[in-house]
Amino acid sequence: MSDTDIVESLKRDLGAKGLELANPAPRRIFLKIAPADLLATATVLRDKYDCAHLSTISGADRGETFEFLYHFASPVAVITVRTGVPRSEPRLPSICAAIPGAILYERELQDMFGVTVEGIPDARRLVLPDDWPDGQFPLRKDWKHVRTEEVIPGGKS
């Protein structure tokens, strides 16, 4: 199956769900959908496109929205499913029902971006170190780390 074949067949299968489809580089397909369609899309990709392997979920802070990219790897291409949630109400459905291996990445998103993944099998909060303060999400762009001064023991100066 070539890239164009995949794009064409994705257009057919997803219909109105696929908001945007692009093929910027060989073996790379970017697909944009609404957050609500995530689980359905993941199921379709898994069953029809041999994309049972979820490589990872990347998140990016795009100002007003958080953008999440689900990288599905099939033997012929990487299909990246892109979805955006508003910063004011960061909620995302879980796809663990379709792809159990997604749990680690979803928990990672909860930690780093402070989104709520709804329907995640293990919904306990996963924070950074034990002493990490509440409400701090390091990968948000407005979060800045303040360095502590390093004290070198011993010696002069």
Binding site: L128, P129, E150
Partner: protein, 139 residues
């Protein structure tokens, strides 16, 4: 006389504990490589021990992450006196490329006292041996 004997035995039989405090593995494989036939630190009576209770020298690698800080202090406390710490690699000394990351405390010396610094990224096995030998020479 007794002191001399104790000092001699301490120099001749340093047992090490390998402590990874969030390193990238490079220093760890080089520490392990120092045990293997090419370098074979058993020549100096150095044995890699599993528990801090048996160890004399803690060889630490890696920048200290916030999560592991308490563990390092605990392991340091568990090691019976006299004990020495060698920081191996740029991360263990000053944090290396991770300087300024939010989850890094800095070098090992920000948490526990360090007796010897071995620079390198990673330090070659012979540089590590050199560090151990310099430490023993100091005793």
């Amino acid at each position: 006389m007794l002191n001399k004997l104790t000092r001699w035995s301490r120099i001749k039989s340093p047992w090490i504990l390998h402590l990874n405090s969030g390193a990238c593995n490079a220093c760890d494989i080089e520490i392990l490589a120092a045990l293997t036939p090419r370098f074979d630190v058993e020549r100096f009576g150095i044995l890699l021990k599993a528990t801090p209770r048996h160890a004399d020298v803690i060889i630490a690698s890696g920048p200290v992450t916030r999560q592991i800080k308490d563990r390092i202090i605990r392991i340091y406390d568990q090691t019976p006196e006299p004990k020495f710490v060698i920081a191996v690699g740029a991360c263990a000394m000053a944090g290396c490329v991770y300087r300024g990351a939010y989850n890094i405390m800095g070098g090992i010396d920000q948490v526990i006292p360090v007796n010897m610094y071995v620079p390198g990224c990673p330090a070659r096995p012979d540089a590590i041996i050199d560090g151990v030998v310099k430490l023993l020479g100091k005793l």
